[in-house]
């Protein structure tokens, strides 16, 4: 009933048994077809012997329409490699990447360029702006390479610049902007062609903490308007929790867990994940939809809250109201929560945590 579950049929982008191996002769490990779990161990051992690096190892996941899918992991765990495989900036060694059920690895160079021109947008950690172009030209660049007329692309670029709040700086050059402003340009550029899938590779990691926070809010605001299908990379667990619908956690090229923020925090798959979740305040992660119960008859809809309200936001509401609080999806009441539910949820989260570690 949440967004994720509603759209679980509509897979926008997925990868299946994706491998990217760096080294002399990466294909050698995959000469005899499928890669089962046992094969995997053998392959690792042989890669080590022959000094190959497995940047992405047997990665599989689905990204649903309008979902923010976050890939989280320490530096060097293969996040950038995976996201680049999804757009074929990096050619995977083996595996499948399905974009709208088309195998991206089989399309021709021209088709790929066409898909990048119309269906994909990407934001980079260090912005990747063209130093010789103004803000306006940078934002209009993806349209320019498609052959859009100057008047049209400039108009569109101005809209995008306004969207990210940079109006007035159209004629500045990247070197004249602060980091946060440069990344706004990067965001505007990546949205100029109205992509269906939006890749963001550590978009805020190069920014100061305060600016980062502000940019995250901005990003969530944009997504509320645009409903893009998003793959968002970060090494910052709290950032992942803030923005994610679902999180994939990577470690040394492998995906170790995929789940909602609450899943990951309350049921970490292994000690590695537990380590991340240790210091995370539960009230910031657990959402109403994670523990609400079916609504009682005649529950007033007027003061209803939405399913993605966190406990932190819920508590003052509960304090004010005597009875249960209604949960609504905007159209109708879909559940209710009481103070007792909250306490139970928090208690189980703690035990879950202990069980995990």
């Amino acid at each position: 009933m949440t967004q994720t579950e509603q759209s679980s049929q509509d897979v926008k982008l997925s990868c299946r048994h994706l491998w990217k191996v760096y080294g002399e002769n990466p294909k050698q490990f995959f000469s005899n077809g499928a890669t089962t779990k046992e094969d995997r161990e053998k392959i690792y051992a042989r890669m080590l012997e022959t000094s190959h690096i497995g940047a992405a190892c047997d990665v599989s996941f689905d990204v649903h329409v309008s979902e923010i899918f976050v890939i989280m992991g320490l530096s060097g765990s293969g996040k950038s490699t995976v996201v680049r495989c999804l757009s074929r900036l990096v050619e995977p060694t083996v595996g499948e990447v399905l974009f709208d059920n088309i195998d991206l690895l089989k399309v021709s160079e021209n088709e790929l360029i066409d898909m990048r021109r119309h269906k994909m947008g990407m934001v980079f950690q260090n912005f990747g702006l063209l130093p010789h172009q103004t803000v306006l030209e940078n934002v209009a660049f993806p349209l320019r390479v498609q052959g859009t007329s100057k008047a049209k692309r400039n108009q569109r670029a101005r809209e995008m610049i306004e969207l990210v709040g940079l109006q007035g700086r159209e004629h500045a050059f990247p070197r004249e902007l602060s980091g946060g402003q440069q990344q706004r340009v990067g965001i505007a550029r990546s949205l100029a062609v109205e992509p269906e899938v939006w890749f963001l590779d550590e978009p805020f990691s190069a920014l100061d903490p305060l600016i980062r926070r502000q940019m995250q809010d901005e990003f969530l605001r944009l997504q509320k308007m645009l409903h893009k299908t998003i793959v968002f990379i970060t090494h910052d667990f709290l950032e992942a929790l803030r923005v994610a619908d679902r999180i994939a956690i990577m470690k040394e090229g492998e995906v170790v867990q995929i789940g909602t923020p609450a899943d990951v925090v309350m049921r970490p798959a292994d000690a590695y994940v537990t380590e991340f979740t240790k210091d995370v305040p539960r009230v910031k992660v657990i959402k109403v939809e994670d523990f609400m119960r079916p609504p009682a008859e005649g529950l007033s809809e007027s003061a209803a809250i939405s399913g993605d309200t966190t406990l932190e936001e819920l508590l003052p509401r509960l304090a004010k109201s005597a009875g249960p609080v209604a949960v609504s999806n905007g159209a109708q009441v879909i559940g209710q929560v009481t103070a007792q539910d909250v306490v139970t949820a928090l208690a189980s989260a703690e035990t879950g945590d202990t069980a995990g570690s």
């Binding site: 680049r84 757009s87 900036l89 021209n110 360029i113 066409d114 990048r116 021109r117 119309h118 994909m120 947008g121 990407m122 980079f124 950690q125 260090n126 912005f127 990747g128 702006l129 063209l130 130093p131 010789h132 172009q133 103004t134 660049f141 993806p142 320019r144 390479v145 498609q146 400039n154 004629h171 050059f173 070197r175 990067g186 550029r189 990546s190 062609v193 890749f199």
Partner: protein
């Protein structure tokens, strides 16, 4: 802080000697045996003519055939190129000087503001006032034509080398060779193929000036941040768009450095090409005045070259530094193109004005200020007054330094020079002195230092001329092998083998002697100045503009002052080479010392080191790799100047190239040029390898 080299491969062999020490011992044995036998066997010193491989003849035969077969093609090209060249020349010569100057000054203003505009105006006005405007314009038009050719050539070769590894594998060694190949030697085949005429200078400079562009294009393209390329790809660029809209514009700052270097190289080559005397340009003016011993005149013309170089360098450098400018679409056409309008307006304005005021078109002869005679009188006065001092400097350098290095003490010490005969007592004292120095060096540093002292002692006694070729080759090959591995050793062996077997050993040693002597002085003097500049901001600020200027000067210019005071011969050549080659020694030393992290020096100071101790024990050892790169560049600069120094009558490979140019002997020119390039390359590899070895030892 004498870091003891930790050679892994210095395994003691069965004589209990490390392998590299054994190699030097073998060199010593060869040296002693060949020196002992040279009396009976003259071939140990003079490689016999009968053994010479006639490569030069083969090249000539090939060239004769090649020219016969393809002359029409090259003549057609020459004819084609001569049209736009003539068009530019005639236009520039027709334009009133006032119009040309106003356009250039406008460009200077756009590039660097008022100061540069003023400097350019004064510099160009000097050319008008002394009456060298037509010659300056002739040079300018050649440069204006060759630079675009060079840039296009460089850009496309650079892109090709960046794109295809196979092209790169051909381009890199070609660039290395071109950079060390003597300038005059370029002219010979071009002269043959394209025929006598100004086109030769044009094509020679277009080819000669392309390598810096190629290098910077490759470097710039390689350095574009991967994220910028990825962002271009994600914007949906195809490969052509990615190259022209993303890679090349992003690489522009580096490419513009290449443009600056290409312009300077083109000017330098246009000037050098004037030795063939096919164009009435400023280089020819300097040269013909020099040949007539009219030094005041050649000095005035030389200043024109220097000023041209400075104006071109400053303008192109400033343009390179200027970032992109936004043409605000709201602004009117006039404001957007205001500079273009001003430039054209001023140009056209002066053309019109010149119709009414002819002085603005052709500067009147009566108004010229040409103080050549006064200059000559001044020089004569100095020579009259200080002649004995100048002679003393010259003779002392000759008798105590240059001659011994060339023919050895054994042929130098005579009553006429040193005031006494070469007695066995003197020889014994000399040998004892060298031995003592070797022992001291070994005690202070290590046995390698002793080897260096002994070799220097031997060279000073026997001269580069008197060292048997086998011993010299053995020495170089062992050095090359130990510093740079077997590839460098092989290069040294093949290189000197080529020089020996093609019969250019004697002139080659003559070049090694003069260049070596100049490099030694430049390096010691330059490093000392560099140390001083590193420790004093005032000295640094004083030296910087001088270095900048010296480095942009076309090589010709250096000959003028030395020839004024010292006429011709090895001594003025030595001075000219030093003036040019000292610059990198100063620069690299200063940079090396200044870029040592401050905390290391502070730590040394905290431990109570004196300034002198810090210099010798901390700064110099840490800056050594950089200082070695300075030595490398000093050698390269010295070799480049050596060729030009042939014009003041030095003997050696430079002279051989110059002679071949005059007699049109392609084969001889090729052999001499190649020999020079090989020596330069070997020296380059050895010093580079040494520098990176030291760097590795220091863990940098």
């Amino acid at each position: 802080m004498n870091t003891i080299p930790t050679d892994i491969d210095a395994q003691p062999n069965r004589f209990g000697l490390p392998a590299d020490a054994a190699a030097w011992l073998a060199v010593g044995v060869i040296m002693v045996v060949t020196l002992a036998l040279r009396g009976q066997h003259a071939w140990l010193i003079n490689y016999p003519k009968e053994w010479v491989i006639p490569v030069a003849d083969w090249v000539n035969v090939f060239m004769a055939w090649f020219i016969e077969a393809f002359r029409w093609l090259f003549r057609a090209m020459s004819w084609l190129i001569s049209w736009p060249m003539e068009a530019i020349r005639i236009t520039l010569q027709w334009l009133p000087w006032s119009a040309t100057i106003s356009v250039i000054v406008t460009v200077a203003y756009i590039a660097g503001g008022w100061r540069l505009a003023l400097f350019s105006a004064l510099a160009l006005f000097y050319m008008v006032v002394v009456g060298y405007w037509p010659e300056s314009v002739a040079t300018l038009s050649l440069v204006a034509m060759s630079v675009p050719l060079s840039l296009c050539l460089g850009l496309f070769v650079g892109i090709a080398a960046f794109t295809w590894r196979s092209v790169d594998r051909v381009v890199q060694p070609t660039l290395d060779l071109m950079q060390t190949f003597p300038t005059f030697a370029y002219l010979i085949p071009i002269l043959f193929l394209f025929g006598f005429g100004p086109v030769v200078g044009l094509i020679a400079s277009a080819i000669y000036a392309a390598p810096p562009m190629v290098r910077n294009v490759i470097l710039g393209l390689q350095r574009v941040a991967p994220e910028i390329i990825e962002s271009g790809q994600m914007s949906g660029t195809n490969s052509r768009q990615l190259l022209w809209l993303v890679r090349i514009p992003s690489a522009m700052p580096t490419i513009m450095i290449g443009v600056n270097q290409t312009i300077m190289a083109a000017l330098s080559m246009v000037i050098i090409a004037s030795v063939i005397g096919s164009s009435a340009d400023i280089g020819w003016e300097v040269l013909s005045m020099m040949r007539k011993a009219l030094f005041g005149q050649s000095f005035l013309a030389g200043i024109v070259i220097a000023l041209l170089a400075m104006v071109m360098d400053r303008i192109s450098r400033e343009l390179a530094h200027r970032g992109p400018v936004d043409h605000d679409a709201q602004a009117s056409w006039l404001t957007r193109y205001r500079y273009l309008v001003i430039a054209i307006g001023a140009g056209v304005g002066f053309v019109v004005l010149a119709q009414f005021f002819p002085a603005l078109g052709a500067y009147p002869k009566e108004w010229t200020f040409y103080p050549a005679e006064q200059l000559n009188q001044g020089v004569n006065y100095v020579i009259r007054e200080y002649g004995s001092t100048l002679d003393a400097i010259k003779n002392n350098t000759l008798f105590y330094f240059l001659l011994p290095v060339r023919v050895g003490l054994e042929n130098t010490v005579k009553p006429f020079t040193w005031g006494f005969d070469l007695t066995s007592t003197f020889i014994a004292f000399y040998a004892a002195g060298v031995a003592l120095a070797a022992v001291l060096a070994g005690w202070q540093w290590n046995w390698r230092a002793s080897v260096v002292v002994i070799i220097l002692g031997l060279i000073y006694y026997y001269g580069t001329n008197g060292i048997p070729w086998a011993a010299f080759i053995a020495m170089t090959v062992v050095l090359a092998y130990q510093v740079g591995g077997w590839q460098t050793g092989l290069l040294a062996l093949l290189g000197f083998g080529f020089i020996l077997t093609t019969g250019t050993w004697v002139p080659a040693m003559r070049s090694v002697y003069l260049c070596g002597a100049a490099v030694l002085i430049s390096f010691i003097g330059g490093s000392a100045l560099g140390v001083w500049a590193a420790r004093s901001d005032r000295v640094s600020a004083f030296l910087r503009p001088i270095n900048d200027t010296l480095q942009t000067m076309p090589l010709f210019v250096f000959l003028i002052p030395v020839i004024m005071f010292f006429q011709v011969g090895d001594f003025p050549a030595l001075l000219a080479i030093i003036m040019y080659a000292i610059v990198p020694a100063i620069r690299y030393t200063e940079h090396g010392i200044r870029s040592i992290p401050a905390h290391i020096v502070e730590a040394a100071r905290a431990q109570g080191c004196t300034k002198r101790q810090i210099l010798w024990n901390v700064q110099l050892p840490l800056a050594l790799p950089e200082i070695m790169m300075g030595l490398n560049q000093t050698i390269m600069f010295g070799m480049a100047m050596l060729v030009v120094a042939a014009l003041v009558g030095t003997k050696g490979l430079g002279q051989a190239v110059y002679l071949a140019l005059n007699t049109g002997n392609v084969g001889e020119g090729f052999i001499a040029g190649m020999s020079m390039a090989l020596i330069a390359m070997i020296a380059d590899r050895i010093t580079q390898a040494w520098s990176s070895q030291k760097k590795a030892e220091l863990g940098l």
